[in-house]
Amino acid sequence: MRATTVILGAGQAGLAMSRCLANRSIDHVVLERGEVANSWKTERWDSLRLLTPNWQSRLPGFGFEGEDPDGYRTMPETIQFLKRYAEVISAPVQTRTTVTSVRPVDGGYEVVTDGGTWRCRTVVIATGACNIPNVPKVAGAIPAHIDQLTPMQYKNPDQLEDGGVLVVGASATGTQIAHEIQRSGRQVTLAVGEHIRMPRDYRGRDIEWWMDAVGILDEFYRDVDNVVRVRNVPSLQLAGSDDRHDLDLNALTSTGVTLVGRLAGVNDRTAQFSGSLPNQAALSDLKMNRLLDRIDEWASENDLDGEVEAPRRFEPTRVEKNPSLATDLSNGAIRTVIWATGFRPDHSWLDVPVFDRKGRVKHDGGVVEAPGLYLMGMPFLRRRKSTLIDGAGDDAQDLSTHLAGYLNGGDTPAAA
């Protein structure tokens, strides 16, 4: 089978790219291991909603439709949304097709799947950034009577044994899961390392509205001083809910969650926590306040001060005077550990020498070193919003322009 371009993955990134290639009359196929929006369907917990408001899911040729622009889609609604997009743009999606290898051949690439082999000139990898949960080595030292779950295995509190739960990691995933489990009546201990505190609403508007309006989500990867650092920043402590509640550490403390420092080790059946919690909290508060300063400045410059609520600053993160530095894992108090310690992409099928020493695909804004190979949907791939549904469109526009130039034999070293 032949196509000019093979797109791997039918999530928002792959579909947006499909639409952009169709606009340029570049023939292509979208290969999807499951159904459209597969990860949203099979690899998320039950109560999860999008962290961005409904109006913000904008894709090329497809805007918000329906009611409740300020609400947050549930997972079934998100899947429905992406399915509808695939229909509206008539994306040539081939579902239930698992790619087993991509390798360079004369004139392009060979894509081997369980449903046949494709030859193409260009490949767009849109398989997502969160395929494999990161579980630290220390997991091996957790006593056997304690259940261990990754966020992909976690569905809801009912699947957990009664008893205490240690949630490791305080990004969007860890804080949402901690909140839900604490409310189920189980005592949660949350191990907190670097984290990004964010209010759901600020001055009467969704924080995402501000970040969109101020231009923060559009910040370009070449304009930040350390792109490696920004690509590794944890996700914002946000939840999408009807009551629009905050999900910062103070909110969790108020529900009874116990905060401890980063999980530093497990020795002799004792979990040890770093003494760095006060500084992690201080770093996060300072960072949030810098963002709020920037928003306030922008609001003043754009004469919005009369329209929106007055500026405010939030209570600093409350940290106990002496947070616990260790907890006994052998006394039965902790029954479950959940590793909310991040994810990494699975590119094990990519037989092209484009990996750095840490196994990450080397790319310049999504343009991979191997000619004709493109990457989408990674953190800060081209913009701060690159991993948002709302970020897929601009990245697809840029990279499809580069891809078209490549097909035309043009010398286009990088998409500017």
Binding site: G261, R262, A264, G265, N267, Q272, S274, G275, S276, N279, A282, L283, L286, N289, R290, N322, R357
Partner: protein, 188 residues
């Protein structure tokens, strides 16, 4: 009258540090360092530690001169007080590490420092080291660091410099996180 903006100079060669970071990210094996100290018992609780050589950038390195540190205990411990106590040296190590970080981060952020003073306190219940109460740990029950900083920056900018310094500090990491320690005894 005209004023000329003086370039920010905290005496830290940030350019060289950033170049080193770039070079070492390409050659991670050169980033493997080994720090060393030797320590000789003098008499009683008095000992003298020496640092001179270390390993880094792929080869043996050495300080410009040999540095020595006397450690002892005060007279109320029935000692002769020939030097700081080892736990005070730990406080000094933490303070020096954080303060070096403050200067470097400030330089990198174009913040001119005029004065930086750190005051450290480590609380300790010595029933631990004396073996009176097994529930009391030997080490500090907490360390308080208090900075007085005079600099051309807002209070939040100064707080951010100090927070970033902690984030990148080796001694802060050593103290806040567990480290495996192996102690061997060689045959006489």
């Amino acid at each position: 009258m005209t004023t000329t903006a003086m370039p920010v100079d905290n005496g830290v060669n940030v350019g060289a540090l950033l170049d080193a970071r770039e070079a070492l990210s390409q050659a991670p094996e050169a980033a493997q360092f080994t720090w060393r100290a030797t320590c000789e018992w003098v008499n009683g609780t008095h000992s003298r530690s020496t640092v001179q050589g270390f390993f880094g950038l792929g080869e043996e390195q050495s300080h410009r001169t040999t540095f020595t540190f006397d450690a002892d205990h005060p007279e109320i411990f029935a000692s002769e007080d020939h030097g700081a106590t080892p736990v005070e040296l730990v406080l000094a190590g933490l303070a020096s590490c954080l303060t070096a970080g403050v200067a470097s981060v400030a330089q990198n952020r174009d913040i001119q420092l005029r004065s930086v003073t750190a005051t450290l306190e480590g609380g300790m219940d010595i029933q631990g080291i004396l073996g009176i109460d097994g529930d009391v740990r030997n080490g500090f029950d907490g360390i308080k660091v208090s900075y007085d900083i005079d600099a051309d920056a807002t209070p939040d900018e100064i707080r951010a410099v100090v927070a970033q310094s902690q984030k990148r500090s080796a001694v802060y990491d050593v103290i806040t996180n567990p480290t495996n320690v192996t102690v061997e005894v060689n045959q006489a």
